[in-house]
Every structure is written in structure tokens, then in C-alpha cells.
């Protein structure tokens, strides 16, 4: 147990101290917050995409629900953005239930394609929905009216808010992983037919995981909107958001507790560097880079980076030709 606990404690301490360690640099503090925010989204995706193996490429719709709810509450009713977050979570869960019931019956690629279609539909919808700002998008409070607006110039407060939320999500995920539901989700991922033959109500468990994942993704969206104070159809519901969650989780290790966090730790800094190098010119290039990463991960790292280090199971030991027969 010690072998796992010690690195965990050290990483936790490092995460808590990070803003102080880079206290001289606002850029690094902001980077830290962005890594955590991405890790929140990818960890939320991990529940359905990683553990249950239902690869959603449409989580942007849930992210958008959180982001839009937070800022629409401000724009329309002058509420602090955080007040809209629960509405966003509820809407995301509702959407997940509505699209989950018909689409989770589809297997493999068909589910992925259906989720893309729904997310694109949502993007087109908000683009043409003036109440949500249409193509221009909506902004949050320019200056904090009260502290409840959670509008800070420094990234450090965001960093700690995100860290707390991420810790909560990872704790929930860990509890699920150890429970019957976690075992069932993994069984469904490996063979839904076999799982059902053992009494696993696969449809129901997939739907639960999908709804939970959607709700937590909406939290990520709301936090994004609170930090950036702005959301438009592309930054709220764009396909790149769904793809990023997927790639981060897959790179670090989909279906592993810390996989999405590891993926975010690698990808977010890379993205920031390439953005600053390429400036505005690189917009189309991002898609090319992500496309290439999908190919590389699928070919060389199908289980993700963390899988290289987790020797949880004993390595393959060939059972003898005649296995120990068990005469009663």
C-alpha cells in the first residue's frame, strides 16, 4: 500500500504548493489552473468513455450546458455565474438521459457518431439562439460585483478552486472504481454480452455513468466560463472540446483514475507552447495535431501512458496443459 500512498501524498503536496513555487510567474500559475480545468473535463469524460468504454465524442454538449448556464444566468438575470452552474449540471444530466436512452443501445463506433451528431446539433442550435448570444456568444461580469462573481485577475484562486473540484471528482471516481458499479462498467467495456449473462443491467449502468459523466462535465464547463468570462458556440460546444477530453484521457490512460490528469499535464502545456509560437495562424493546425495524436495513441499506446507503470495484474503465466483438475 505504501508504494502507492507515498507518491500520491508527494504529488498532492506538490499540487498544493505549485502556485507558490511559481509565484513569480503569472503565466505558470495560469498554466497550472488550465491543466487542472482540462483534467476535470477529461476525468469526467473518463467515467463513461474510459471505465464503461463508451467513447463519447460529443461531451462538448455537456461542457456547453455548464458554460452557457453560468453566463446566461449573469447576462439575463444578473446572477453570479456560479449560480447558473447547478442549472447547467441539471440540463446536462437531462440531455444525457434523453440522448443516452436511444444511443447507448448502439455499440462501438455508432455510439461515438451519434454523440458527435448531437454535439454538432447543439452547436448549431446555440449559434442561432439569440437568447444565448447567438454567434457572438455571451460574456460574464467584466469586474467582480461581489466575491461571489468569482472574477479574479490572478489565476491562483482559480487554481485552488479547480484543484478542489478535481480532487472531489477523482474521489468520486475512486469510490466508483472500487464498488460494484466500477466492476460492472469494466465488465460492460470488455464484453457487454457476457456481463448481461451474469445479471448486469448493462443499459442502466451505462446510462448512470453517462449521466454522472455529463453532470461533471457541465461543472468543467461552468468553471471554464467563470474563469474566462466568455463563451461562444465554438468555445462552448465546439467539437475540439470533445476531442480534447478524449485525447487527454486516452493519452494518460482511459479507465485509469489518474489517466486524464496525466494526459492534461502533458497536453495542456504543449498546447499553450504551440499557441504562443504559432499565434493565431495555428488555428487549423490544432486539428491536424490532434488527428495525428489520435493515430499515434491508437497505434502505440492503446491503454495510455499510465498503463506502462501499473503492473496491477501478474504478468501472463502460461497455465499448464492440463490445469489442476478438481475432483470433488
Amino acid at each position: 500500500m505504501m508504494r502507492r500512498t507515498l507518491p500520491l501524498l508527494l504529488s498532492g503536496a506538490l499540487a498544493l504548493l505549485y502556485p507558490l513555487l511559481v509565484s513569480g510567474s503569472a503565466v505558470y500559475q495560469r498554466l497550472g489552473a488550465l491543466v487542472l480545468l482540462s483534467a476535470i473535463g477529461a476525468s469526467a469524460w473518463n467515467l463513461i468513455g474510459g471505465y464503461a468504454g463508451q467513447v463519447s465524442v460529443g461531451h462538448a454538449v455537456f461542457f456547453g450546458a455548464g458554460a452557457y448556464a453560468a453566463l446566461a444566468g449573469y447576462a439575463q438575470f444578473a446572477l453570479p455565474p456560479i449560480a447558473g452552474a447547478p442549472i447547467g449540471v441539471a440540463v446536462a444530466i437531462l440531455i444525457a438521459a434523453l440522448i443516452g436512452v436511444p444511443t447507448l443501445r448502439l455499440s462501438g463506433h455508432y455510439f461515438s457518431m451519434a454523440t458527435i451528431a448531437v454535439a454538432e446539433l447543439a452547436r448549431v442550435l446555440v449559434t442561432n439562439w439569440e437568447w444565448l448570444g447567438g454567434a457572438q456568444g455571451i460574456s460574464g461580469p467584466a469586474v467582480a460585483r461581489t466575491v461571489l462573481d468569482l472574477s479574479f485577475t490572478s489565476a491562483v484562486p482559480y487554481y485552488y478552486i479547480f484543484l478542489a473540484v478535481l480532487a472531489a471528482i477523482l474521489f468520486i471516481t475512486w469510490r466508483i472504481e472500487k464498488s460494484r458499479m466500477g466492476f460492472y462498467l469494466r465488465a460492460i467495456k470488455d464484453s457487454e454480452r457476457a456481463a448481461r449473462s451474469l445479471g448486469v443491467a448493462a443499459g442502466r449502468y451505462k446510462l448512470y455513468a453517462y449521466m454522472l459523466s455529463a453532470g461533471l462535465t457541465a461543472v468543467a464547463g461552468a468553471l471554464y466560463a467563470i474563469m474566462f468570462g466568455f463563451v461562444d458556440p465554438e468555445s462552448g460546444c465546439g467539437i475540439l472540446i470533445s476531442v480534447k477530453m478524449l485525447i487527454m484521457a486516452a493519452l494518460g490512460g482511459a479507465g485509469l483514475l489518474f489517466g486524464p490528469l496525466v494526459g492534461a499535464l502533458i497536453l495542456v502545456p504543449l498546447e499553450e507552447i504551440s499557441n504562443s509560437l504559432l499565434g493565431g495562424k495555428g488555428a487549423g493546425l490544432t486539428f491536424v495535431v490532434y488527428g495525428a495524436m489520435i493515430v499515434v495513441i491508437a497505434r502505440f499506446l492503446p491503454s495510455g501512458l499510465l498503463a506502462l507503470f501499473t503492473g496491477r495484474m501478474r504478468p501472463a503465466r502460461k497455465p499448464s496443459q492440463t490445469e489442476p483438475s478438481h475432483a470433488a
Binding site: 454480452r193 457476457a194 449473462s197 451474469l198 445479471g199 497455465p319 483438475s325
Partner: protein, 246 residues
């Protein structure tokens, strides 16, 4: 009567894979389902487990109509199965595989774990609990599927060609295992190709041919039945065989 299929027909388009089959499984017995390739055994089997829903006819379990119930609902009632081509959970350890079955009656992870370890010991996979399911060979995987099904504490266990692909030595070990399971009061339905297995295990046998039941009786009765010999060997060979015997 534990499990009863009445006038079951399963049609795929115009083709009837199972045609008006009625089979009763008595509590505590070992029933064999045999027949040549394509006879409809597996289709019939899948209608019993809920993987397929029959075009017409009914399936009753303990007097209750389960024809429209899903596989998971039937599992909860006490019907367990294995698969012809093992569908083990490849990314998990042997223990985790069996725990999936055990979770059906034991909701807490520790209780499911205890139950799983007990069953793993019973089926003779004791040394393999922590091994990856992927690392097992065919005999091991078939055994693992049986363990997984047993962990769900079924009343009836349906084995779909559990011995296919095993060597004669492995088959004898597997027969011992099935006997031991039966000894614990679990009713068994076995679909099998291998006559040796049927003869040594089954109390009663139902023979399928081209979707229809052509014979039933004790193993020795059906193996002497001319229709059965004909179905397996073809008319000409069957005639030769009976001619030689006379």
C-alpha cells in the same frame, strides 16, 4: 419442472433455425442437447438464456413466463450460462472476472470477493486468482466462464460446448468439474458435440436436426436411434452401419 420451452420457433427471415421445439428440464437433472453442426442447438440455447427472443413459443422458468425477459433478468432469476467461444473479461484478473458474477448476490465488494475466491478454489483455478484472464489458455478460459457463472449462484447452468477445443485429458478434468457442480444440486443443460461427454454426463438427451427435435431419451437410447445415426452420418453410412451390425 425447472425450465421449459414450449413450441419454440426461431426464424431468421424465411429460415427456421429452431422449428417448433419443446424441451423440459427437470430440477436436478443433467440434460444434453446434441445434434450435428447447424442443427439449431445454439439458437435454441440462446432462446433459453434470453440472448435471442423466439419468433413464437414460450420459455418458462419455475412456472414463470420468461420469454420476453432480458438475459440479465434471467440471470437474476437463477439462469446462468457459458459461451461457446469464451467471452472472458480480458482486461481483468481471474478474480475480478469471477467477482462480476458474485456481485449479483453480494453487493459489497468484500463479500463478492470472498464468494469469488471460494468459487475459484472449487473450479481448480486457485493459483490463478491474480493472473490476467487474457493469460489463460482455452481450457482455463472455459473453466473461468464456469466459475463466473457459478459465482452468480444459479439454479440452472447452461453450458454451450464447454468442452470444445479441449484435449482428451482436459475433457476428463472438465467432466469431473461438471459432475462436481451437479453434485452441489445445480441443474445442468449441456450443449455438446462430443458424444463421450454426453454419454458420461447426461441423464437425458434431446437430439436436434435441422431445427427440429428428432429424438429424445437416455444417451444409450438415442445413440442407437436410426434417425440420430442418419443425421450424424448421412443415410448411406447409416445403412452400412446397421447392415454391418445385423
Amino acid at each position: 419442472m425447472l425450465l421449459e420451452a414450449s413450441q419454440l420457433t426461431m426464424a431468421f427471415g424465411a429460415f427456421k433455425a429452431v422449428d417448433d421445439a419443446s424441451v423440459r428440464v427437470n430440477e436436478g437433472e443433467v440434460l444434453g442437447l446434441i445434434g450435428p453442426n447447424g442443427a439449431g442447438k445454439s439458437t435454441f440455447f440462446n432462446c433459453l438464456t434470453g440472448d435471442l427472443h423466439p419468433t413464437s413459443g414460450t420459455v418458462h422458468f419455475e412456472g414463470r413466463d420468461v420469454t420476453r425477459l432480458s438475459p440479465e433478468q434471467r440471470a437474476r432469476l437463477g439462469i446462468a450460462r457459458t459461451f461457446q467461444v469464451p467471452l472472458t473479461f480480458g482486461s481483468m484478473s481471474v478474480l475480478d472476472n469471477v467477482m462480476i458474477g458474485a456481485f449479483l448476490r453480494h453487493h459489497a465488494a468484500t463479500a463478492a470477493r470472498d464468494k469469488a475466491l471460494e468459487v475459484i478454489g472449487q473450479v481448480g483455478l486457485g493459483g490463478f486468482a491474480e493472473a490476467s484472464a487474457k493469460s489463460l489458455g482455452t481450457p482455463g478460459r472455459k473453466r473461468l466462464e464456469i466459475a463466473r457463472a457459478l459465482a452468480s449462484e444459479p439454479k440452472v447452468l447452461l453450458l454451450d460446448e464447454a468442452m470444445a477445443g479441449l484435449t482428451p485429458g482436459e475433457i476428463r478434468a472438465a467432466i469431473d468439474l461438471v459432475r462436481q457442480i451437479h453434485g452441489r444440486g445445480i441443474t445442468l443443460v449441456i450443449v455438446e458435440h462430443i458424444m463421450e461427454v454426453i454419454v458420461s454426463l447426461a441423464d437425458r438427451v434431446v437430439v436436434f436436426h435441422q431445427g427440429r427435435e428428432i429424438a429424445r431419451g437416455t444417451p444409450s437410447e438415442v445413440t442407437r436411434n436410426e434417425l440420430v445415426i442418419e443425421a450424424y452420418l448421412g443415410k448411406r453410412h447409416a445403412a452400412k452401419l446397421s447392415g454391418g451390425a445385423a
